[in-house]
Symmetry: D2
Subunit: 346 residues, 4 copies
Amino acid sequence: MAENLRVAVIGAGRMGADHIQRLHTRIHGADVAAVVDIDLERANAAVAHIPGAKAYASAAEAYESGDVNAVLIATPGFLHEVALLEALERDIPILCEKPLTPDAASAWKIVEAEQKLGHQRIQVGFMRRFDEGYRELGGMVRSGDLGELLMLHCRHRNPDTPAGFTNEMLINDSVVHEFDVIRYLTGEEITSVQVRLGKASSKAPSGQHDPQHVLIETTSGVLVDVEIFVNAQFGYQVLTEAAFEDGIVTIGGDSGPYVQRAGRWGGEVTPGFEARFGAAYDVEVQAWVDAALRGGIGGPSAWDGYATAACCEAGVEAQKSGEKVAVVLNEKPELYRAGAAAEAAK
Amino acid sequence: MAENLRVAVIGAGRMGADHIQRLHTRIHGADVAAVVDIDLERANAAVAHIPGAKAYASAAEAYESGDVNAVLIATPGFLHEVALLEALERDIPILCEKPLTPDAASAWKIVEAEQKLGHQRIQVGFMRRFDEGYRELGGMVRSGDLGELLMLHCRHRNPDTPAGFTNEMLINDSVVHEFDVIRYLTGEEITSVQVRLGKASSKAPSGQHDPQHVLIETTSGVLVDVEIFVNAQFGYQVLTEAAFEDGIVTIGGDSGPYVQRAGRWGGEVTPGFEARFGAAYDVEVQAWVDAALRGGIGGPSAWDGYATAACCEAGVEAQKSGEKVAVVLNEKPELYRAGAAAEAAK
Amino acid sequence: MAENLRVAVIGAGRMGADHIQRLHTRIHGADVAAVVDIDLERANAAVAHIPGAKAYASAAEAYESGDVNAVLIATPGFLHEVALLEALERDIPILCEKPLTPDAASAWKIVEAEQKLGHQRIQVGFMRRFDEGYRELGGMVRSGDLGELLMLHCRHRNPDTPAGFTNEMLINDSVVHEFDVIRYLTGEEITSVQVRLGKASSKAPSGQHDPQHVLIETTSGVLVDVEIFVNAQFGYQVLTEAAFEDGIVTIGGDSGPYVQRAGRWGGEVTPGFEARFGAAYDVEVQAWVDAALRGGIGGPSAWDGYATAACCEAGVEAQKSGEKVAVVLNEKPELYRAGAAAEAAK
Amino acid sequence: MAENLRVAVIGAGRMGADHIQRLHTRIHGADVAAVVDIDLERANAAVAHIPGAKAYASAAEAYESGDVNAVLIATPGFLHEVALLEALERDIPILCEKPLTPDAASAWKIVEAEQKLGHQRIQVGFMRRFDEGYRELGGMVRSGDLGELLMLHCRHRNPDTPAGFTNEMLINDSVVHEFDVIRYLTGEEITSVQVRLGKASSKAPSGQHDPQHVLIETTSGVLVDVEIFVNAQFGYQVLTEAAFEDGIVTIGGDSGPYVQRAGRWGGEVTPGFEARFGAAYDVEVQAWVDAALRGGIGGPSAWDGYATAACCEAGVEAQKSGEKVAVVLNEKPELYRAGAAAEAAK
């Protein structure tokens, strides 16, 4: 029978711990072989209940153990570049949590490094592509069943933000998912970003202007607007409404048990991204494992990571200037054109 | 131009006051000419703000004033028989709040008295027939668009009940509306009633078994069940789900502004029948006024009042016996067959 | 008893015919006394079934008949100015279908003429203020229950447009309602308008760019965006989503019977504004009649008509330039400040 | 690291093939070791793409291979008894698709055989207990948050039925799931079953009376009714509405992308049980694998299989007699009381 993937998870924080649990209890064809964390105690705690998994303080040690043949990078974004280059050197399957790297220049270095390998090894963790709703909406766009897609209205609402969540993080950590989704749904690149700052919520922490209204355009002129509202109090919501020539489609609406009590009808708002996208993470990681066992990737590529990094840079600039800022990309390398894109778009 | 209807409203309690306001401020072609209440002070208060309206302690006095040419009866049901006979004697248009009378025998007397007149004068206040939802559902049944109607599942829920609301009143005051709606929707008579008493709510007052499950059959075998739950706490709801051969239709679902707040999505439950059926009452009374000005009725007839009274009697018996009880009706008089029924079903 | 309002309806086209029917069959306290249309045959047809109503080819003739004490103007907008001045001269209650006049300069003339009277006589037909949904949303804004209002996302979708519907008409005939609603909901003036033109629908007629994305700001910085899409094919929809500090509220969602058939769940989209706002028109006209009988107005004032005309001018300019265009208003006259505004906002 | 479960799947028909795919691609900790089918060609086809899996014509051969340590029984129900006894003899973990066996007498034999082992080995495939909706509703019942549960209204609708689907199968193959869910939600046994046959759909095949209305009671008097409608044409739906003392909860409502097109709003009805309960099957099988690796079961027990078999017998009798039929059970053996029940209810 087929050999399971032996995965080293780098970073045992919130996302890392979540992926460790996923790989250990729900994903077929993969096992947690190693957990790497600069805080060795945290790594030890993470492997305590996993037979056959070992804790390390560095990725190098994990690789040297000889028991690892794939890597999942879940450290903070600024540490991704080094971890990616190290893994590319070993030419093993990589699932890298978003962002690929925090800026377009460093992301481009990764794209160049991967090109030297001559095949794709990096899958970026934009999990929304694996969410049932986005998949169905993407299918509707591609089928042409409702005519051309003309506009997208997006809502990205969080109940609140952790201390130190800056204006830039609104773009880099939250809107970045919308950039990816827009590119995924339209199959086009983003050409400009503009940001409107209006009346701010008194619930936003000092130094953060919240909500913001982000205006985006794609190659063919699809108009997108994003309400990014990260101190929305009521709960978590990620919703996309698509206006086609022949109809309107909305995904990400509220669901769950329908309750009538105390004068109210309705249900419970999703509390956070784990509840909203938990199933998507499972599908994402399973797709990566399946593709990795066949020698490829099963989702967004390093190019997608690079392109969204460029959008984020334009977004942050637009926040400051109030003007429409063009998104400029390097030419797309051959490696990212045909087959891999097809795989990623599945 | 056409003379307005000069209406005497008999009974200035909750329903009467509501109808006085309706006739005075929203209904075209009718004015409140008189308010009759055994409590003359209450009648006086009701006419205080209505120019041209006078208060009386008895219907006879109102009729003798010469300023009245139509009557709306809104007293408690046990007073209807006398008021109806008195109005029939004068051969004027009558809108009688439900029930026609509290039992089949007295209702039949009214049917006989109206037959002697040779034309229909009595319209019974089953306002649901004027509710947009029931009208649309009725239209779907008659169109045959979804095939034959096979089953109806009804919910009749009140937040709570006034003191002294007995088991019998669950049938006579609440389920009576379902009897009317079933007859309206199917265009058939009801042939049997059965009542299931299961686990009772601790919120029900002593002596009242709540909720109850009422099982009903019609001539062609349409199966109906009604959850009657009058201490449901959460709010008011009247809903009907219809299973057709080719589809399912539900009317009476929750509506209104959609709010996401404090971890919940949804809206406000209708607090009571005024909010739920206020528009239907307006349409009902306007239909009566329009028909009365043309010399006819514009809604459910005395026969409908009689038939539902017979259903209520069977329902109360079924509550006590736990058995299926047949509903037996006198033969339908000619007067109620063709034209009037057509009018009422509009 | 109170004398009914004797209304002359000017214009017997689609809107006029609708109002004639409304006044004749559903509104309490008013009668159609005259129908004025330059096409006398059309006027004659309109009064044929209305006892006591007469047809005229000009408003002057109607006024001279002595049987008219109020006027409802339902002609095309470019004819409003003359009709308004003529009615103001007679100092009678006026309900003027929107727009007040087609441009800010002529609207200001009306405002000045009304000021000379010293009291308000003109109510403008922005019927959305009488729609249950907008009323409830307005109430939520004013109550402060959900904190401050921060953003509004509006959808204005028509299935298609009549021949000759130009880009300017998208603003002047459609978005004009959004301008009014934004002013009504926020209680603020609009300070700027910007228009984004992206990918156009192939269903839009030649010369019309559809859909468009309109960006609006108010005095306090509330950010609004409107998707105006007048060839949306699927049906009619007017929806507003309001982001507050403590929650999100949406009004204008789909409703009606819930049907499951042929592999689909859902219901029927409202086909047009008559179905969507029919009840609002009834409430609007009843409010006007009630207020007129008391000597005042019961809805949006001439100032509201002027202010929205100024917004429309800015909107059309913004469509052409692609830039953000400021909305500049004359100082608000005393007449429109306190009491009348309170009345209109009810 | 932990040894994976080596599963023999008995029966390579629709359900078997589905489980083979599930075990092979999505379930962690288990592999398909063997596929057993009397039709060896079908078994061969099923293992063709699974490295390490072998095909057999009998369970005995699979067991003798020494490569199997668990069994999933997915043959038609009448073959379960033999397969269960054979597996119990080998004392290995068993996941048996519902029903346990087709009648109460044979189900009781299985219960007795398992008792001789002294520990539970059999988990029955009532997958609804693993559906998110039923889990949440079950949690609400147990929490007491909405007061006591009083009534359940259930809908079980299929678009159509395969040839030869009899009246008895309506109970044994469809309502059986409702019996299980009622027992799961209430934590009580079912005490009686009654069946109403009314107007039948013309879409039902000859010899089948469809729909039927099934009335059920539990120990504490919770009243349940089930609309079982297996030729409902429009699609598939399994819905439960629960009336509590303080509120109403509905699960299983329609969901998915919200589409407005061609005059309709709404979405697509689930086409069948695979789409509706696919995720529940995954959770169910993962729960079984996890529990089996720890030496227990992770879901409904043989006792649950026996009790529902008794309900089905009463249901079929009630269909024929039209009377209320009592459900009589043997005393519950010690083995099924404490710990296992807790596990199953998780």
